[in-house]
């Protein structure tokens, strides 16, 4: 009797583990992460005319006068009906329209120069290859399939430079872009760093492939 009781007591934690283990199993259908809303802020005010007006009137942006869609058109009609539309010239800053104003040169140049666009990083093909081999974002079979397709593309370039193939450089470029798109679509969610590195090296790699001399060195 005592042995049976002690056995029951010792089984309780394992039953707990059982339920915990079942709860930890991932569902069959992966839940997609909620996409971030990156839509630009609408430039036209809400079309609801019955909405209460703000206590301080907001400045109407100049873009609302352009025909961007039906909601803007409705807004324009409503504002015209209310007689609040301001002429375009009135919304311009006075300094811009005054031709007699002399433009004074700044006494000192701006302290900080505008930021220069970042130079593309140097291509390290071997490092990229290693990273592609090591990444866990792609399964083994997928990596092997991609390698096969890269080899096929290289063969097409080889045939092109030897005059064997009847493909054009534009077709090769399309094949290259498609292959890169496949790689990026596989990587972009699970290994964003590598995906970014490949995107950054895109034109540099094409530069190697599209130049027969550089391609020859790549082969050797």
């Amino acid at each position: 009797m005592a042995a049976a009781t002690s056995m029951r007591l010792t089984l309780i934690p394992f039953l707990f583990l059982l339920f915990a283990g079942c709860a930890a199993v991932t569902p069959d259908v992966p839940v997609a992460p909620k996409p971030e809303v990156v839509a630009p802020k609408p430039i036209s005010p809400p079309p609801n005319a019955m909405a209460p007006a703000p206590s301080t009137p907001l400045p109407v942006p100049a873009a609302t006068t352009s025909h961007t869609g039906p909601s803007t058109a409705v807004t324009e009609k409503k504002s015209a009906a209310r007689g609040t539309e301001t002429p375009v010239a009135a919304t311009r800053p006075p300094a811009a329209s005054a031709s007699s104003v002399t433009v004074a040169k700044p006494a000192t140049p701006p302290a900080t120069a505008p930021p220069q666009p970042a130079a593309p990083p140097a291509l390290d093909l071997n490092a990229l290859k290693e990273q592609l081999k090591e990444t866990k974002a792609i399964g083994v079979f997928t990596k092997l399939t991609l390698k096969n397709q890269v080899d096929d593309l290289l063969q097409q370039f080889r045939d092109f430079y030897q005059g064997k193939a009847k493909v054009t450089m534009a077709q090769l470029r399309r094949s290259y872009d498609l292959l890169l798109m496949k790689v990026l679509s596989l990587l972009q969610d699970a290994d964003q760093k590598l995906a970014s590195a490949i995107v950054a090296s895109r034109e540099a790699i094409w530069g190697l492939l599209a130049d027969p001399k550089k391609f020859a060195t790549l082969e050797g």
Binding site: A3, F14, L17, T26, G139, T142, L144
Partner: protein, 85 residues
């Protein structure tokens, strides 16, 4: 001797609880891999819902849309996807 049986049962329970989820995760990884391979070949599948192992590097995949494919590595080292009837 009598006291060893509950211990053995408990050990089996623990092994099953720990191995179950990890096996399921590995299975999901394989399905995802096969889905990507079939998609890379431009074949219709949608999503692989079941994978059977025929041999080493040789799988039979069943897709969500009902298509079945054999995915294997050929002697030349190429991944081959064959549609099954």
């Amino acid at each position: 001797m009598i006291n060893r049986t509950p211990v053995l049962i408990q050990a089996l329970f623990v092994a099953a609880f720990i191995a179950g989820p990890s096996l399921a995760a590995g299975d999901e990884e394989l399905k995802k891999d096969m889905t990507a391979v079939i998609a890379l070949q431009g074949l219709a599948c949608g999503q692989v819902v079941a994978v059977e192992v025929n041999a080493e590097n040789d799988y039979a995949c069943t897709c969500k849309d009902g298509n079945r494919y054999r995915v294997y590595v050929s002697a030349a080292g190429r991944v081959v996807v064959e549609k099954q009837k």
